[in-house]
Symmetry: C2
Subunit: 239 residues, 2 copies
């Protein structure tokens, strides 16, 4: 008896995080052409080609769909629920988009961190825009699940390598910005005073000779992240 | 024009680590039936079924091929090089094994940590056995690459969660065993005196009232890992 092995299409989906000027975590969504308004927004993603490796596909697709080039993307999970593409609207859209009858589709999800002011554009979709994480609508396929998993992954990533948090901040930032970002990423509440104390023990967060301008509250000092100092201190397996 | 999208078989491959009585890191390999002797050994792996999710497939395949049940397996990477299954011996073997003409095959790799005394058996393959990491032969497909990547992944995993190192040790262990295991996993050399000092600052590594018996060197004290104490101290994003 021949067993019924999977023979499937494979896509990549890209979860791109940004941190906006109101100190909120955002995710980049594209808007696809589909008649059902509530299923228009989705993660940037597409099928990979028959001669393409999956990391190359992630790079190509992110560029094609958002204009972002040369971004470090971390592959974090393969999503392969047999029913993940079984919604009738999604099936119709895939037929139109890919000119193929698609019965099942696996996806490999990627995670990346982007400065919110990065130039975004797209030739393929009308709209590519940031969406605050608290306002993410119901998305097609299992894209909501992918985003939830990506949040767990980004937390793990920061635990392994705290320096990646600075990818989301402007080059000069205030401790309040870092605190808000940390709060948006962490599941645990941390008191701002304790946070200040902790942060001041990190010699790779360097105070600049510059404070905020034109702000209604007391102007705060700017800091920068020093990657060299960080690297020197954080290369051991046991911390 | 219809673009040429991937339509592929997908497998899972399981990298199972063990730590032997000679203090060496090992990986579990199975031996497949193939006439070319130097391509017989491989990672435990198989195609997933058409109605199967990938994590379920990893659990099934590991059980079918090694007898190991209910092991935590961490999905760590999808390998999708278009040429990863292009060796003629591998193609012939796949045709015989799966009764399918297989043009391309993607694999999702899993990582797990196993006590070396865990019962291993297999109905499918003649031989399932541990192989010291320094003695791993040239393997079929990209299995050598998968093992190399899994070593990088296990290091990252230990950085995030040092407690997982104890999955590889017996319930009671000596500091020398922990040191040897740490040395096998780490890329950096650490002096045993410094290691002792570091370890003694970890309150979750608890000295037992018991020492080694029947050893030719000076009998060392046994220790155990206390998961509760570890968990209490290690739940913060910033350490």
């Amino acid at each position: 008896m021949t067993q019924n092995f999977i023979h499937t299409y494979v896509s990549v989906d890209c979860v791109v995080f940004g941190f906006d000027h109101e100190n909120r975590l955002n995710i980049l969504l594209v808007q696809r052409h589909i008649d059902v308004p509530e299923r228009q927004k989705r993660l940037p993603g597409s099928l990979i080609f028959s001669n393409e490796d999956v990391d190359d596909a992630a790079e190509r697709v992110l560029h094609e769909l958002t204009g972002i080039k040369k971004m470090v993307q971390k592959q974090f999970r393969c999503f392969a629920d047999p029913l993940r593409a079984s919604n009738e609207h999604d099936i119709k859209w895939m037929e139109k988009e890919y000119k193929q009858q698609i019965d099942r589709i696996m996806t490999v999800a990627y995670l990346s961190l982007c400065k919110i002011d990065h130039k975004i554009n797209s030739t393929k979709y009308d709209t590519v825009d940031w969406c605050p994480i608290d306002e993410i609508p119901s998305l097609p396929f299992d894209h909501n699940k992918i985003i939830n998993e990506s949040l767990i992954e980004i937390r793990r990533w920061i635990e392994t390598d705290f320096s990646i948090i600075f990818e989301l901040l402007p080059k000069k930032f205030t401790i309040r910005q870092l605190y808000q970002l940390y709060g948006a990423l962490s599941e645990k509440y941390i008191d701002i005073k304790n946070f200040h104390k902790k942060i001041s023990s990190f010699n790779y967060i360097v105070a600049l000779d510059e404070i905020e301008k034109n702000v209604s509250h007391r102007a705060a000092r700017y800091y920068k992240f020093d990657a060299k100092i960080y690297k020197k201190n954080n290369t051991k397996l046991i911390k």
